[in-house]
């Protein structure tokens, strides 16, 4: 029993980090610009598909493929901002709600586009280390989980360093905490927001690859991932980087430990229940100070 619990905790933490990295970019945009980007997880799924293509066509390891994917998705993020978000911010009053609808449209467009190109069926990423594991004291650590978690940790670390220790990063935080004040200080709002979108979508590509190492995916998978993202962001507090990281771990733990105490099929119910409970009790986030 003890081994089982420890194993569940270890897997839960690894999965949690992977989910956390999917959530941070989403949280960042919501926090800085008030946009709820439903298409965030669709971008992650797109990255998963592209890494699959890279691995099948050129035998490229998905993690190596990130060298190309991250810049590409950074550009996609900037384009998203220039083409849609800017127009939306100018033309709509309730940006939170409006953005939910039109990014939903974007997600739906992407989903069906991916289904058109790659087919709607489930795909799994095969790597040299898929199925391999490190065995320690009766505990197994699948390498895919370990690498996914490391990617997550590295990305969150880099983001933290960027936001707290570089000038553009500080500008992003300033915009998010005090939009008008930041503008008064001479921060170029427009460029800072464009940068935020670039960083956010680039982090989604890392998350997509990390998730694809562990999970099977279809074009429609973005909805499933999105629910987890919402859960993490709302538990962790909108806009909070470390909150998202901590909430990711909590969600990972809940989903892997709950199978020990209740039928597996109710696991998602426990997570959804947690989400609604947090919303009702502390909508600003459990972990936000």
């Amino acid at each position: 029993m003890l081994v089982e619990v420890v194993q569940a905790v270890v897997t839960g933490l690894l999965i949690g980090l992977t989910f956390a990295v999917l959530a941070v970019g989403f949280s960042l945009i919501w926090g800085t610009t008030g946009v709820v980007n439903i298409a965030h997880s669709a971008f992650a799924v797109l990255a998963a598909f592209l890494s699959l293509v890279a691995s099948r066509q050129w035998g490229l390891d998905p993690i190596a493929a990130l060298v190309g994917l991250v810049p590409l998705f950074f550009i996609l993020g900037v384009v998203l901002h220039e083409v849609l978000i800017k127009v939306a911010a100018r033309r709509t009053k309730e940006l939170g709600l409006a953005s939910m609808i039109f990014t939903f449209g974007l997600a739906s467009f992407m989903e069906n586009g991916m289904a058109y190109v790659w087919g709607p069926g489930p795909r799994v990423l095969n790597t040299a280390y898929t199925g391999a594991a490190v065995h320690l004291l009766g505990i197994s650590i699948p390498l895919t989980h370990a690498y996914g978690a490391l990617l997550g940790l590295a990305t969150i670390g880099l983001l933290y360093g960027f936001l707290y220790h570089t000038f553009p990063g500080k500008a992003v935080r300033a915009v998010w905490q005090q939009r008008d004040g930041a503008a008064l200080c001479g921060i170029p709002l427009h460029r800072v927001t464009a940068l935020t979108y670039g960083v956010s979508i680039a982090s989604a590509s890392v998350a997509g690859v990390a998730m694809a190492l562990i999970y099977s995916f279809t074009p429609a998978t973005y909805m499933v991932w999105l629910v987890n993202v919402f859960l993490i962001v709302i538990v962790g507090g909108v806009g909070s980087l470390l909150g998202a990281a901590a909430a990711g771990l909590i969600v990972g733990l809940v989903s892997s430990l709950s199978v020990l105490v209740m039928p597996f099929v109710w696991t998602n119910l426990a997570l959804f229940g947690l989400l609604i409970l947090v919303l009702l009790v502390r909508p600003s986030g459990l972990l936000k100070r």
């Binding site: 709509t92 609808i101 039109f102 939903f104 997600a107 709302i234």
Partner: protein
């Protein structure tokens, strides 16, 4: 708001005339298509009371649709009561569920409320999939309606037409009553609404219950028409998305908007899926959603109606003519 009486005379006249359509012996397919159109339109019109007037965006109305279908379906299976008669009970069950969901969650605002509505669909689906009473994953089989195919089509056609008429009358009433005025004030600025004495919470809850009731009734009729219920399609997000799209596309400031949207969306959907392919159709709807929100926030009906005065003035006007 300016609302020439001619408009609704036309609309109800056309709908009543459509009620006589079966006398012309149209093909079952025509009836079947219009049946889908009317059911979606009725739900979109009802959805709009909360989502459009009140500005509380819900992706969860399919839960009420599914609840109506399952509750009346179970009454048919166990007690032999026809869903065409028990439909109001299905509506009541849906409204009851709306009360349970809405009472705690309508205090949430903006995206938070919307997230909850999405999650309620997922929760409802899991529950129905795992509870033996509902037939769980095997689905719920009901006895067939006791008529031949054509008669059956006609009966269901007329049933949803009646529901659509009722939904339109309800939405029209809400729009012109103090109720609708209050909802729009909530949408513009909820804190200000509370400050000027609008009972915001009660109005929102009322709007949710009304729209849930209509969706539950439609669900009851639709479930009986299918005679087979499964959570995969009774608690699927897609119909919810269609309702939202229809209302927004048509125009959410007017009771007639969702009907216009439903007609446009359903005809496009049918043509595209039959002649082009589903994926293309859905990609187009995705783009459409973006375009509507960004460039046509008042919906296509705003092209037809005289230009509205600015929002603040519209609200002011409402005070004098509720």
């Amino acid at each position: 708001m300016v609302n020439r009486p001619r408009d609704w005379v036309y609309v109800f006249g056309i709908l009543l005339a459509l009620g006589l359509l079966p006398l012309a012996q149209p093909s079952e397919y025509v009836l079947s298509f219009l049946y889908f159109l009317f059911s979606y339109a009725a739900m979109a019109v009802a959805w709009n009371v909360l989502g459009g007037f009140g500005g509380y965006l819900s992706f969860g109305h399919v839960t009420f649709f599914g609840t109506g279908a399952y509750v009346t379906g179970l009454m048919l299976v166990h007690w032999g009561w026809s869903p065409l008669i028990t439909a109001p009970l299905g509506g009541l069950a849906a409204a009851l569920l709306a009360l349970v969901i809405g009472y705690p969650t309508l205090r949430l605002r903006g995206p938070y409320f919307t997230v909850v509505t999405v999650v309620t669909v997922l929760i409802a689906k899991i529950v129905v999939l795992n509870v033996p009473l509902t037939g769980a994953a095997m689905g719920l089989w009901m006895p067939f309606p006791p008529w031949d195919p054509f008669t059956s089509r006609v009966i269901f056609y007329e049933a949803v037409l009646v529901l659509l008429l009722a939904a339109l009358l309800m939405a029209r009433w809400v729009q012109h009553a103090k109720f609708g005025f209050g909802l729009r004030v909530i949408r513009e600025d909820e804190d200000a609404a509370a400050a000027i004495g609008v009972p915001a919470f009660r109005l929102k809850l009322g709007a949710l219950l009304l729209s849930a009731f209509v969706c539950g009734m439609v669900g009851a009729v639709h479930g009986y028409d299918r005679s087979y219920l499964h959570p995969d399609f009774m608690f699927d997000l897609h119909p919810s998305i269609m309702m939202v799209l229809m209302a927004l596309f048509g125009g959410r400031d007017h009771w007639l908007g969702p009907l216009v949207g439903a007609v446009a969306v359903m005809i496009t959907d049918e043509l595209l899926t039959v002649y082009v392919g589903t994926e293309a159709a859905r990609m187009l709807f995705g783009l459409l959603l973006i375009i509507v929100v960004l460039f046509l926030p008042e919906g296509v009906i705003s092209l037809r109606l005289p230009k509205k005065p600015p929002r603040a003035a519209a609200a002011g006007e409402g005070v004098s003519s509720p």
